[in-house]
Subunit: 246 residues, 2 copies
DNA sequence: GAGGCCAACTTGTTCAGACAAGTTCTCCGC
DNA sequence: GCGGAGAACTTGTCTGAACAAGTTGGCCTC
């Protein structure tokens, strides 16, 4: 039972993918699309707004919408879950836990997870790979209320996100990602199979539930020769921001 | 004459900033806000949709909206323009051109800028700094039709974006950013005043006009001790995507 | 006191109509 | 052929209404 505007957005995406509407060409006018799909103009507007936010089409008042690109970016599901991402690329996700222990929450843990200081929180260090080759080191801290469920997961589970959803119904809904570059330390280098001081792409992120409650925060380090990130921005949709240190 | 829904979004942002609505608290219901501002519910929905996209508030059907964060991310203007960004932080943007020359477009240039191969395109290498300290190296290629306007700009102009707008009315409307990490090469190290092999945050981006016409593409390298990027994501708004190499 | 059920509340979706503001194209005059 | 004025078209904004779907809190029972 998906909403009609989502169905229409999906059909438009597929039509663009099929090159029914080629890059550079113009989309039919809203009123035409509305008639074609048998819905009101407002519903069509919701559909095309989604494609605009994804960067697939461009929009200017007065002129017909233009197709800008043909490949859409990933779904949030693919970003949240390493395993989902691997599956979308038809590669095999691997992973295993290197270290796992409870520690009292530091001041930083307490702020990020909105918990009292010294609450015992679960620290997990995981190595994750694509087709057996390690590409990512995850140092994650889980909030106390989800830690038992995380502890119960076997060490080489390929998809922690999926397991937590199956076991507890938990859905990761929002995420804040801070991206920078660091040189690989001794432990990083050994676990990822690279030389020390190699550049790594670091993503520090906090994930929260739909209610806005923080679940985990993590320091993820990617081999920069294997993985990169891409962000699409436009006027009126600015997800990416530059920040200065400290 | 800004749209009413933008005004309302702005007032809500300010109210959150003033902690009139604190983080974790609930926003008034749509109908209450509509009555308060004397507009229809649809207009309020447009306003809160903007804040949701920015990650300021969370939204779930049936429950009142929750304030998730208090600091909003930057405007697209600040991301597009180094000078705008510096000004928003109340720091001084500096910059100067190190090299500038026309070269025939390579196959890559031609694809990215949607030009015929071998068209002469303008390559510019700029160093940019905050309060005099260099933080960014920009290697930019401009499309042939904008190159003359770029060439006319003095070498130490602090805001190229602003100058191009003033001179030609050009507006940067869309951008695709690919982020990864690289080790500083000899030239990078010398111009940024760091050691060779230091990790740098690299952003390769293409900027286009409102019509979807590519204007420039650039390889930007940031000192990772000075600058980082942040992205806010949520279900239904996934600007960030992971990519594998090549 | 604990648990379950229901009513009130709130957001999500959709419709139909109206006007404003910007673009595109055609036709006309020079 | 060229340029300008204007008509036709298209997206942006806003309204008011209705129902669907999900959440919350209170009341009632055990």
């Amino acid at each position: 039972m998906t909403a009609r505007h989502e169905e229409i957005a999906d059909e438009l995406r597929k039509a663009i993918d099929r090159e029914e509407y080629t890059v550079g060409s113009r989309l039919p006018a809203e009123t035409d699309l509305a008639a074609q799909y048998g819905v009101s103009r407002g519903t069509v507007r919701q559909a095309v707004a989604a494609l605009t936010a994804e960067g697939l089409i461009g929009s200017r008042q007065g002129a017909r919408r233009v197709v800008l690109a043909s490949r859409r970016s990933q779904s949030f599901a693919e970003l949240r879950s390493f395993a989902e991402w691997a599956r979308a690329m038809e590669r095999e996700a691997t992973g295993h836990v290197v270290e796992q222990e409870y520690r009292p929450a530091t001041a930083e843990d307490a702020v990020r997870l909105q918990l009292p200081e010294k609450t015992p929180v679960l620290h997990v260090l995981r190595v994750r790979g694509l087709d057996g080759e390690p590409v990512l080191l995850e140092r994650t801290v889980y909030a106390d209320w989800i830690s038992p469920a995380v502890e119960a997961i076997e060490p080489d589970c390929p998809s922690v996100t999926q397991r937590l959803y199956d076991d507890t119904g938990l859905v990761f809904a929002y995420g804040e990602h801070v991206i920078d570059a660091v040189a690989a330390g001794a432990q990083d280098a050994e676990l990822l199979g690279i030389r020390r001081t190699s550049p790594l792409l670091r993503v520090r992120r906090v994930t929260t539930t739909r209610e806005g409650r923080p679940v985990e925060w993590s320091d993820d380090r990617y081999r920069s020769d294997a993985v990169s990130f891409s962000v699409h921005n436009s006027i009126g949709n600015n997800a990416l921001a530059r920040k200065t240190a400290e």
